[in-house]
Each structure stands twice: as C-alpha cells, then as structure tokens.
Symmetry: C2
Subunit: 239 residues, 2 copies
C-alpha cells in the first residue's frame, strides 16, 4: 500500500471510530506503532486536526468530515451575496454559520479580488422586524430535517389564540417573511404558519413519516398559487 493511501485510510479510520489508540491504528493499517506516529505527525503538519492525548488515544476533531472545496471567484461572489441574504433574513444559527464561512473566504482571497468581491456595495437591508421574523426558523429547520412533531401557541392577526401540534413539512421565504408549511393535527389538514407568530415553540420527541398522506408534495399539489410561483399570498395561512 502506498504511503499516501495509508494516510488517507488513517483519517478515514479516525472519521468512523472517533477514538483510536496508536496500537489499534498500527494493527489496522498493518504497520508498526512508530510508523503510525510518523504518519500522524505528517497529517498534523498538513493541517489535519488530529489530537493525541496520553493515556487516551487519538481523536479527530469535529468539522473535518468534509473535503475542501475549490470555488472560482465568480462562485465566491455569488456565495458572498447569498451570505448577506442569510445574514439579513436567515435564522440566527445559519447567520452565524455564514459569518464564519465569510471569514474563511475573506482570509484567502487576494487583495485584487477583494474589492470586486467584498467591497462591492451590495446590500440587503434588514428590516425592523427581520430578526423577529427569523426567530423560530432555526428550530423549525431542525424539526423538518428530523421529522419531528412540534407544539406551539399561535396568535392570529385577529388576536385569536390556539395551541397546535403540527408536522412541519417545509419552510418558505417570501421576501419579507417566512412561513412554514405543515400538517396540522388539530385541523387534520394542511396549514401554513408564520414562525414569528409562534410562541413557546417546542420540538416533541414524536416523529412522523412524511410518506403517509401528509407530505410536502400533497401540500404543493393543493396550492395552485405555489406551483405557478406567482402568488404573494399564502392560502391556508393562519393569519
């Protein structure tokens, strides 16, 4: 086995096992312990965040699960604009994430590109209630990905309050505000809700299977306005 391949495999092993002692790695890779130490030293020298602790073993730091990406300046320009959108209107978690992403981007671009890419005045002004609008979006995003039922109190525009258990299906951003598409267990039908009108949002342990009757495809099917992509109003919205 070529050394380069072995180094790769060492990282892969750490990726899957999280913890491994030098002896274990040596056995797995079929080399001596001394060679493992040398390999680890080389990898660390190349920037791989492997941590070794005496009495414990080796551990790969989080965040190294993805390979590096190479973007063109045009692509970075687009991503940078997108990052501003997210900063202005995304939920705080994602906004923070794109913040660190932009820091990484800024660190590597040469000065010549900097002006066209970052100094170009391209603004997505946040509105007064932008942060408020995005308040619950992060939680909803996770709930959708994990297919968990959520519970919340909801106050409609006319002041009427209700408690809901809903199965969140998708998030929509309409230029000023978010809505979440969901199957409402109270009404036994599809409904849209505005995250900023929710309070006491809780993600329940209960999960759901989006294949059984209540899924986003059906929601979209019932929403002519959405398919044609021209509506600005949201039918079924609990407003």
């Amino acid at each position: 086995m070529r050394r380069a391949d072995r180094l790769f495999q060492l990282v892969q092993t750490l990726r899957t096992r999280r913890f491994a002692t030098g002896q274990q790695l040596a056995t797995t890779l079929g080399v001596s312990k001394r060679t493992v130490y040398r390999d680890v030293a080389d990898l660390v020298g190349s920037g791989v965040p492997i941590r070794g602790e005496a009495g414990v073993g080796y551990q790969l730091e989080r965040g190294f699960e993805l390979p590096p990406l190479r973007f063109t300046s045009e692509e970075l320009e687009g991503l940078a604009l997108g990052a501003r959108f997210v900063s202005a209107w995304g939920d705080p978690e994602l906004a923070a994430a794109v913040g660190t992403a932009m820091t990484k981007i800024e660190a590597v671009i040469p000065d010549a590109l900097r002006r066209a890419l970052l100094d170009t005045p391209l603004f997505t002004p946040g509105f007064e209630r932008a942060a408020e609008m995005a308040a619950n979006v992060g939680v909803l995003r996770r709930a959708i990905a994990e297919r968990r039922v959520i519970h919340f109190g909801y106050t409609r525009g006319d002041g009427q309050r209700s408690q809901r258990d809903v199965r969140p299906l998708g998030l929509y951003f309409w230029g000023r505000s978010w809505t979440v598409a969901a199957w409402c267990e109270l009404r036994a039908d599809y409904r849209s809700f505005r995250p900023d009108m929710m309070d006491e949002l809780v993600v329940l342990d209960r999960t759901f299977d989006p294949g059984e009757g209540y899924n986003l495809d059906q929601f979209i099917e019932g929403a002519e306005w959405l398919r044609e992509g021209r509506g600005t109003r949201t039918p079924g919205l609990e407003r």
Copy 2:
C-alpha cells in the same frame, strides 16, 4: 528542493506568467524538460487545470487562483440557503455561478449530510417578475465595481421617459425588488433607480472617482430611512 515544493512552485510560476513553455519551466525549476512533463502530468492528475498546447506552451486555466476552502456542515447549510436566495433573486450571472458552486458542494457531501443539507425543504419562491427584476443587476454590479458611468433610458411609473447618465454607487435588494443608488448627472443629485425600469443600459468607458463629492457614504447620510434600516420605501426613487 523537495518534489512537492517544486510542484507548488510550478503552479505558482504558471499563476503569475499565465503562459510558459516546458523548456522555460525546466530552466526556472532547475530540472530537465522530461521532469517538467512528469510534474505537469502529476498535477493534472491531482486536479490542477493545466492545459498544454503543442506549439504554444502551458497555461493555467482561470479559476485556479484561489486556494481550496474547508467548510463545516453548518456553514455549507448556510451557504446553500444563500445560494437559493441568489438563484431566486440574483442576477442571472450570479445565479449561474452559485449553481455551479452548489454542484461542487453536492459532489462532496456524504449521504448522511445530504438530507439535512440539501433535501431540507427550504424555499425562496421566485415571483413572476423575479427574473425581470434582476435583469440589469449583473451589468450594474460590474459597473459599480469598475466605477464606470452608465447610460440608460428610464420609464417612470407615470410613463414619463428620460435618458440618464449616472454614476452607480451601490445596489440594494428590498425583498422583492432591487434599487441602485447613484449620482445622477442630469439632476446633479443622488437618485435611486429600479434596474427593471431601465432599458438600453450601456456601461460607458468613462470612469468616475467616488471620492469627489458623490459617494455612497453621502448618499446614505442623506437617507435617514436607510440608516435606521426600517424603511421599505426609497426616497429619491424615480418611480
């Protein structure tokens, strides 16, 4: 010199010179031509886009000026959302750029991450006139970066038409539409314009120096509504 260092230096040489023959590279690096060919083959095998043409020489393809970036999954999630924003509302050039960026991202993420990252239903519905709105934005973006005066015909809402020479200072996206902040040479004052109401937009050869009286800072100073970040109307807009 270690081989790895030489490979790096070869790329650096091509970065700065754009063109170089194998013989030139051999002399620069202090090795034989044959070795250069081997090095180039290795680099190409590692994904470096070097193009060799018989009778011409070697050339490094554009887009390789930037080092690779390593993002966490959270950061990629944020950038992915931003990419959707740009696809929906950005100008066609940037939309295409984020498209290829997303292709690169999709290519590397493991299946486990794919669902949370790409399959999460997170939509930024484009509106009927979204493409139309962004029509001239790409051109304006370039003009701002290059500080070039632009000329266009403008039709206001009341049907009144005019021809303008303006110095574009910045682009704003308001959730549904774009405006460009500019110094209007006709009115000798700051004005905002909607790109979708421009026709026959031309970037002139004439450049301007944003330090001389008409710059974005002054524009912002005169725009209380913008500083406080709460307005949805745009004073001075030629509507």
